[in-house]
Symmetry: C2
Subunit: 343 residues, 2 copies
DNA sequence: TTGTACGCGTTATCAT
DNA sequence: ATGATAACGCGTACAA
């Protein structure tokens, strides 16, 4: 059995409640007894029991982290560790711990969340972007339980606190970047159409084309899963277009996808950026490790996580903070996969 | 306030203790009251409070996960998400949750662990391999607190339960694989010398050379940090050797490093596998996404995590399980970075 | 300024 | 088969 507040009390010749107050640094305790008690704590190697404290406080100082199914590609994407680092750092600064909820199936995850929440294991929840959250979101909203999302919610985006990039703008900027290099035949290679990011970046892409007076072509839009093999066929189709129709630049919405695209292009004997330019998204570690290193839109993944923690803790500690939307800035990191058109 | 066991008791016209027994499915409760109580629980939407339960049980059903400093490269390596998936799945099967401990500095982490442990937040701890654990390990050992390591401990490997590959054997197998392809000039590109894996795989490499009667050369051994840029100089040095001295194959102990090596080689206009073969380690997702796809020793990262959870839970639930060493098998996945020597 | 007593939601022991 | 009661370790009104 560990040393408890009572042991300390005895050793210091005070009541348990006094010890408790010393821990909380209650100003109504005399300096002299504070010192005395602290010495006793030190001597006995006392550490407060979080569980008991949580029970008394009705608060755990733990944040639940909900991720998409663990079998999902999600875990494989370097996005995950980075956002995790951010979350962790934000939580750490306020002495909160992070607890994971995952599962193989959607049901698994849902039940995990319910257990966490009803079981009082966590004070709040951060949802990592995915398409399956609907049930979870409504559940949390119903119970009025503190949560924030990373990424933009499907629905009711203006009643759910979330941390996100301005993805329309990001798509716009990336496209304009290519246009600025003289490209006019730009194709959009996006991820799952169900994902809000995909849709938003596409919107930005269209906006930029329109602004430049470049007509939008349906056959220049490709949607593939975030995994790599997926893209192959689509890319081939694009490259088999007659030369004057073939895109000179690609906007690819994820670095992982870009890697796949690079491989496919290499098999087709097209070189980047000589034959075709690529601008990518996310700027994870290996965007600089590919050949060639990718020009990528840095969406500040770490910050996304960091802000999410901060926001959530704010919601938890200050009852009834109003709805918030945090927009994390992006910026284009130029590397070697983009080049001016020859023409 | 949530609905408690007392509310259920009232609703079902029984004592709280009876409800508790129903939850535990105590056989000494009549079917009839079980049904009655369960109905009441359903009706009220009752969920047991984990915190209270933990306090009464002196057990939290939570596993603490200790990772190296979050600023570290560790998070960036795809090793992490995969092992996490494994850990999660193992924990999930036994209804355990995962809680993270990280920090920027070594002290941060150490304090985090102490808080977790003394604070009674977790029932056991899994240590992810790193070099800084010494203090933590001794702390845990002193307090006789359940923990398992992933990877091999520095010291006292035979008194610490750990889950690991047979890395000597893995190094041996990889080297023999290259030798079997006719290679004789094989260089070893390893990570940080402080890491046990690095040393063990090197040992296996030496063993294989010896068995084949190939003399070991000091200038064929390179140690670089797991990060990519690091390798560059060393690789260049190797490639600048006179042609008859230049290695025809490389054994690189991490896929991330291999990516860097591939890039360096490409800059030097050497092609893989035509000019030089590479066998890599870990077989993370992008070993098949590189150009060329890497032949890599699959160390079964998922399994590493999965077994670690299982082991830990075993330690936690059955007092005094003896020391255990779990060895997770590896296997070579052949792709396109290795080829028979021309000669 | 400090001590007393009760509550947080469960489980476990001891009765009945 | 079930109910009453005492822990579990801490926070906090209320009393002194």
């Amino acid at each position: 059995m560990s040393v408890t507040i009572k042991d300390v009390a005895k050793a210091a010749n005070v009541a348990p409640s006094t010890v408790s107050r010393v821990i909380a640094n209650n100003p109504r305790i005399s300096e002299r007894t504070k010192v005395k008690v602290r010495e006793a704590m030190e001597l006995l190697g006392y550490h407060p029991n979080f569980i008991a404290r949580s029970l008394a406080n009705q608060a755990t100082q733990v944040i639940g982290l909900v991720t998409p199914g663990s079998s999902d590609v999600f875990f494989q994407n370097p996005f995950f560790p980075t956002v995790l680092r951010g979350l962790n750092e934000g939580a750490h600064e306020h002495q909160y711990a992070l607890q994971l909820v995952t599962g193989k199936s959607e049901d698994d995850i849902y039940n995990g969340v319910v257990q966490m929440v009803q079981g009082g294991r966590v004070d709040g929840v951060v949802l990592l972007y995915s398409k399956v959250e609907d049930r979870i979101v409504s559940y949390l909203q119903e119970r009025n339980f503190p949560f924030v999302m990373i990424g933009k919610p499907y629905k009711m985006a203006d009643s759910i606190t979330h941390v996100d990039n301005d993805n329309v703008r990001a798509g716009f900027d990336a496209t304009e970047f290519l246009i600025g290099m003289g490209h006019e035949r730009i194709a959009y290679v996006g991820g799952d159409k169900q994902l809000v990011v995909t849709v938003e970046r596409l919107q930005g892409y269209k906006d930029a084309l329109q602004k430049a007076g470049i007509p939008y072509r349906d056959d220049y839009t490709v949607h593939e899963s975030f995994l790599l093999e997926g893209g192959k066929d689509a890319i081939c189709a694009l490259m088999e277009l007659p030369e004057q129709d073939r895109p000179t630049a690609l906007l690819v919405t994820d670095d992982l996808m870009s890697l796949g695209v690079l491989n496919t292009l290499s098999e087709l004997d097209m070189s980047v950026p000589e034959d075709i330019s690529i601008i990518s998204f996310n700027n994870v570690l290996f965007s600089e490790m590919s050949r060639p290193p990718l020009t990528s839109v840095d969406i500040n993944i770490f910050q996304l996580g960091y802000e999410a923690s901060k926001q959530l803790i704010n919601c938890v500690e200050n009852k009834d903070v109003p709805y918030h939307r945090i927009t994390v800035p992006h910026k284009i990191v130029k590397r070697f996969s983009t080049e001016y058109t020859k023409k």
